[in-house]
């Protein structure tokens, strides 16, 4: 059976082209890609770099669950979720979520759901490095 879901965690730069080629589908009319990139600041403080750490087997499993829930809730044809780990500098891609659907509205909703859920459930941790110090994002109130 044709593979409908592609989940990857990688310490190499992510490729939107790879995601797009994976989700390409002759019945697709709308593909929505979310690309999360490293911002140069957080609450006004300059960010120098980021580090992402993952509990890889569980992160893969949770990303797959998100994809499966997305397929259940919308008429998704194909979906890719790629997440980067390791050290990233400003502008680098941290995550790509690509969703192909027959029509665009579902693709927008499904992609938005997927990134929202990823940020809530997938065991990946982001450390932001500033001029003087570093913090694990979202760890403390």
């Amino acid at each position: 059976m044709e593979k409908k879901i592609d989940i990857q965690i990688s310490d190499k730069p992510l490729s939107e082209q790879t995601c797009l080629e994976f989700v390409a589908h002759p019945g697709a009319g709308g593909i929505v890609n979310f690309i999360g990139t490293v911002r140069n600041q957080t609450k006004g403080k300059a960010v120098i770099k980021l580090e992402f750490e993952a509990y890889v087997p569980m992160a893969i499993s949770e990303m797959r669950k998100i994809a499966e829930r997305t397929f259940q809730q919308w008429p998704v044809q194909k979906m890719a979720i790629h997440h980067r780990v390791g050290t990233l500098t400003i502008g680098e891609i941290a995550v790509i979520i690509s969703v192909a659907c027959p029509h665009r509205k579902a693709a927008f909703d499904a992609c938005s759901f997927a990134i929202d859920t990823l940020k809530e459930t997938v065991p990946i941790w982001k450390k932001e490095f500033f001029e003087n110090g570093a913090v694990w994002v979202a760890a403390h109130p």
């Binding site: 999360g36 992402f52 750490e53 993952a54 509990y55 087997p57 569980m58 992160a59 499993s61 997440h83 941290a94 995550v95 990134i115 990823l118 940020k119 809530e120 459930t121 997938v122 065991p123 990946i124 941790w125 982001k126 450390k127 694990w136 994002v137 979202a138 760890a139 403390h140 109130p141």
Partner: protein, 78 residues
């Protein structure tokens, strides 16, 4: 019992795992209490979950000696 740590949990514990005394039939809740007793800094986190064999575990799940147990501090992927 070996408990794996990631993110800020690794910093708090000072390494990629911690050791917690295991007792037969120990629950996830009991494990959390033991972790908090040994490392009070975990109280300050937004949340603290436990994963058992790559799944988020409910408080009443009983941990078996062969399970892979991981501390999951607040996630921040994406």
């Amino acid at each position: 019992m070996k408990v794996l740590t990631f993110g800020i949990a690794k910093d708090i514990v000072g390494g990629p795992e911690m050791d917690i005394p295991y007792s037969e039939g120990m629950s996830v809740l009991a494990l959390k209490k033991a972790v908090l007793k040994n490392y009070p800094q975990f109280e300050k986190l937004n949340s603290l979950a436990i994963a058992v064999n790559n799944e988020y575990a409910d408080d009443d799940l009983q941990i078996r000696p062969t399970d892979e147990v991981v501390l999951i501090p607040p996630v921040s992927g994406g």
